[in-house]
């Protein structure tokens, strides 16, 4: 392995650590509780013994506090994260997670409030939601927002539910939802839960919606067109107004997947495009931490027409103050218990207020600049199937490198040796060998330059020494893992080695 080209990273000693269960030793104690201060009655006198647990939780770990601290600290050192550097996952908007948001979300009076606290005793919490809704209305241009959905996908579900409820009220819920071929997988998956079948609208040569195809496909069976704008190629949908006209003319609704709002906040309001309903991913655009998989929040904004269909409860004013309004007869119902991922809402509000009008616009502009900077500097090295200016992200393909037998995954894995997390590769499906890169506004020019340099260097390596890439990464604690074998005979939980395998493999 040649290392001299690698400017950003090297290797360092790191600790091993087994599974919790392997580290466990009988009799270790990591917890601390006050002594029981009420009479201690044998449980079987309180509850029928047959209803009580009798396995003594065998197999659960027994560890000291020190063991636990070391365990998770060691594990953490095997992760890459946004605080280490550029995390260029396209469509994921991996931006800096401000620490003030974390602090604010942990303020005792906000963090420890029970969701069933009577509203008069929860005015602060309700105000957080009210104010956030107000901000999101300003950002989207739409008049009403629900913060109940727990993530983007649930936002989609909620939005399409509302479309369906509205259509049903108009007499016919219809049968289909149209979705572009470049869309994220949650779009079709969400539509299906609302009882729709999905039809795929092709993209045109520029990566936008094929308007003629849409026109052909739009009819009275179509409930909605779900559109991501900018789309997953990083392209703004030029014909968005026309699209809305076509769909509206056909009696349908336009759902906008707002996952890519980092390209628009403060620079354009989706309401002005003519869309009817959209979600926002607070864990993308509004910087709430992705947490290794979640949580998120997927508020949904709607037109006045769809407002009555929003999930209940809604934060409202009564005479006294803020309250929760359950009296929403046309509501689609509830999509989640309580008021949603409140802690995420607090963080997003903190982000928005910190930025203010000017900061939000500045963030958007810089995000778009950074994406174009990467596109411009790599366009001679990597194929860009849909060339030209982009918004917040750019999608490369491995076409030029594939000639040497090097695929996008090999380039991605080699980036790891260069000190970067790889780009998104799983979509958009319309680009073979995609490398979808979204830098966000929180990257410095030097970090972008290092990335550009690494990508160029890897392209040279692809020609000179393709094997080097095919076995990358070379600098990590574990190398490429055999995912095929893992899926063929899945091991999804630890079991004591000496325990006979009591599960028939054929079942899996």
């Amino acid at each position: 392995m040649e290392k001299s080209r690698i400017k950003k990273a090297s290797t360092h000693v790191i600790q091993h650590e087994g599974l919790l269960f392997e580290e466990s030793r009988p009799g270790r104690i990591g917890y601390s509780l006050p002594k029981l201060d009420v009479p201690d009655v044998p449980p079987s006198e309180l509850v029928d013994a047959r209803l009580l647990r009798d396995d003594d939780l065998e197999g659960m770990p027994e560890l000291s506090e020190v063991d636990v601290i070391r365990h998770f600290t060691r594990l953490s050192t095997w992760n890459y994260c946004i605080d280490h550097g550029l995390y260029p996952l396209g469509s994921c908007t991996m931006k800096y997670n401000p620490r003030i948001n974390e602090k604010v979300a942990r303020i005792e009076g906000l963090a420890n409030l029970h969701p069933l606290t009577p509203p008069p005793l929860a005015q602060g919490a309700l105000e957080v939601i009210r104010r956030l809704e107000e901000c999101l209305c300003a950002i989207t241009g739409l008049p009403a927002v629900t913060t109940q959905p727990a993530a983007g996908a649930q936002g989609e579900l909620t939005g399409i539910m509302m479309v369906r409820a509205r259509l049903a009220d108009r007499g016919n819920p219809r049968k289909k939802v149209l979705i572009p071929d470049s869309a994220h997988g949650t779009n079709p998956a969400s539509a299906v839960i609302c009882g729709y079948t999905v039809e795929t609208v092709p993209s045109n040569a520029e990566g936008g919606t094929d308007i003629e195809a849409l026109r052909r496909m739009m009819n009275e069976d179509v409930a909605a067109f779900m559109l991501t704008n900018p789309n997953t190629l990083g392209k703004f949908e030029q014909n968005i107004e026309e699209i809305c006209r076509i769909v509206h003319a056909g009696g349908g609704y336009v759902y906008m997947d707002g996952a890519n709002m980092n390209a628009l906040v403060g620079c354009a309001r989706p309401a002005s495009f003519g869309i009817d309903v959209m979600h926002l991913n607070l864990h993308k655009t509004f910087s709430t931490p992705h947490g290794g998989g979640g949580p998120g929040a997927g508020p949904v904004a709607v037109t006045a027409e769809l407002e009555p269909y929003l999930p209940f409860p809604r934060v409202a004013h009564d005479g006294q103050g803020l309250t929760l309004d359950f009296n929403r007869p046309r509501s689609v119902g509830r999509v989640r218990a309580y008021v949603g991922n409140y802690g995420v809402l607090v963080r997003a509000l903190s982000y928005i207020l910190t930025h203010g009008d000017e900061g939000l616009r500045e963030a958007t502009e810089t995000a778009v600049l950074n994406a174009n900077y990467i596109a411009h500097n790599l366009k001679d090295t990597y194929d860009i199937p849909y060339p030209g200016r982009v918004m917040h992200e750019v999608v490369f393909s491995d076409k030029r490198q594939a000639k040497y037998g090097v695929r996008n995954a090999d380039i991605a894995k080699r980036l790891i040796d260069y000190g970067f997390y790889p780009p998104t590769m799983s979509f958009p499906l319309i680009v073979a060998g995609a490398l979808m890169v979204e830098p966000t506004e929180t990257e410095s020019r030097e970090e972008l330059d290092l990335f550009i340099d690494a990508m160029k260097s890897i392209s040279s390596e692809a020609m000179e020494d393709p094997e080097l890439l095919k076995h990358a990464p070379h600098t990590t604690k574990v190398g490429r893992l055999d995912e095929v074998a893992a899926a063929r005979k899945p091991v999804l939980r630890w079991e004591p080695k000496d325990q006979p395998p009591d599960r028939a493999e054929g079942n899996i």
Binding site: L20, F21, S24, G30, L33, P39, P43, V47, L52, R53, L57, E65, S76, W78, Y80, C81, I82, M94, I100, R106, I107, L110, N112, L113, H114, T117, E127, A138, A150, A153, E156, G185, P188, A189, A191, I193, V198, K235, Q238, G291, G292, G293, P295, R334, V335, G340, N341, Y342, T354, R361, E365, L369, E441, T442, V478, L481, A487, R493, W494, N507
Partner: protein, 443 residues
Amino acid sequence: MRYIPNSPDERSAMLKQIGCDGIEDLFEQIPQELRLNEPLGIGDPVSEPDLLAYFNDLASNNASDYQSFLGGGAYSHFIPVIIDPLISRAEFFTAYTPYQPELSQGTLQYIFEFQTMICQMTGLEVANASLYDGSTGVAEAVLMANRVTRRSKFIVADTLHPQYREVISSYTKNLGVTTQTATHNESGALDLNALQIDKQTAAVVVQSPNFFGCIEALQAIADAAHEAGALLVVAVSEAMSLGALRPPGSCGADIVVAEGQSFGIPLSYGGPYCGLFATRDRYVRQMPGRLVGEAYDSQGRRGYVLTLSTREQHIRREKATSNICTNQGLFALMATVYLATMGRHGVQEVAHQNLQKAHYAAAEIAKLDGFELKFSAPFFNEFVLRCPRQATEITRRLLDSRIIGGVALESYYPELKDSLLVCVTETKKKKAIDQLVAALGRR
């Protein structure tokens, strides 16, 4: 803007380098008339000290210094101090979904550990990497049972958390699924005799302890369901009960969904929480949510990867087992750290303390004139009181003693005007319980 590294000058230089005169050039991609040419109207940026003051102010408008006996799906438990510093490691909370295993072994390993412990706690064979929460988890379980059995009638207990029932109804109402309500008997538990399971029944959905705090006879319900070829879906809104009660998986449940909030997750006005979801191995390919599995590299080193993703929307799109993508990763880590810290013995001791304190409280209150336990079925840490007056009036008056007495059931069960759902966890000192008893006793 302190979160944007590049200074205005640096940005100008970059713009120049890529051939732009100004940032407007890049926004020409957006049709002119769609561009926003005015401020958003949110206001000026708020400085860090002012922002802190703003939120501290909001926080002070929430209840504090109340002794709260609220439960009903969200529970106040002691949270080991070490959880927050551990989940606050940047390597955990600022990482993405572990798509690239070589740079995500930390996340992948804890999810594998989480999956294992959820299996152990629920008594089932396979658990996923989390769903949003308990309510959506139950809805996903219904959809899954529908796929597994290819049947579409569901029997749902009226003692399943009312909000969970509302979520099931939203999720299923467009899918040709029908739901029947199973009622409870006088003891507060499911009325087994009234249960009408037939060959069209996909699953019976119950909660245990149920919304009244009553522990269900799961094995009997499972037997009845299985006899008709239906599944048993068990929801557990108080996951701490798993530390004391026979796990649903050992009582015949086919899918167990739990709200993981009790495992070290702050109440946070309802979220983020953590949906736990476990089932039997044979149903794994119909399961929603991410799964982590063991894998090896070419040198034989063990690692972990996301696996069986062909169930998921990013591969299977409309044919996926669920639309879920972002889940509750960091909160699954909280639960993992909680379970690791409390461990085999701590989990049982907490559960034991809940059992004892709730029963002490129930016994003491039942001694008061006019109060009695509404139901006779065994309970864990929640019970329904029948009050001498409307429960909403009782709770209103308790506020004067700075006590939040519990959930007045009337809003969920209009017939239960006199009923108050009281929850007593390990966080309530005897003194606080005695104060509640005294306050209830004052007329």
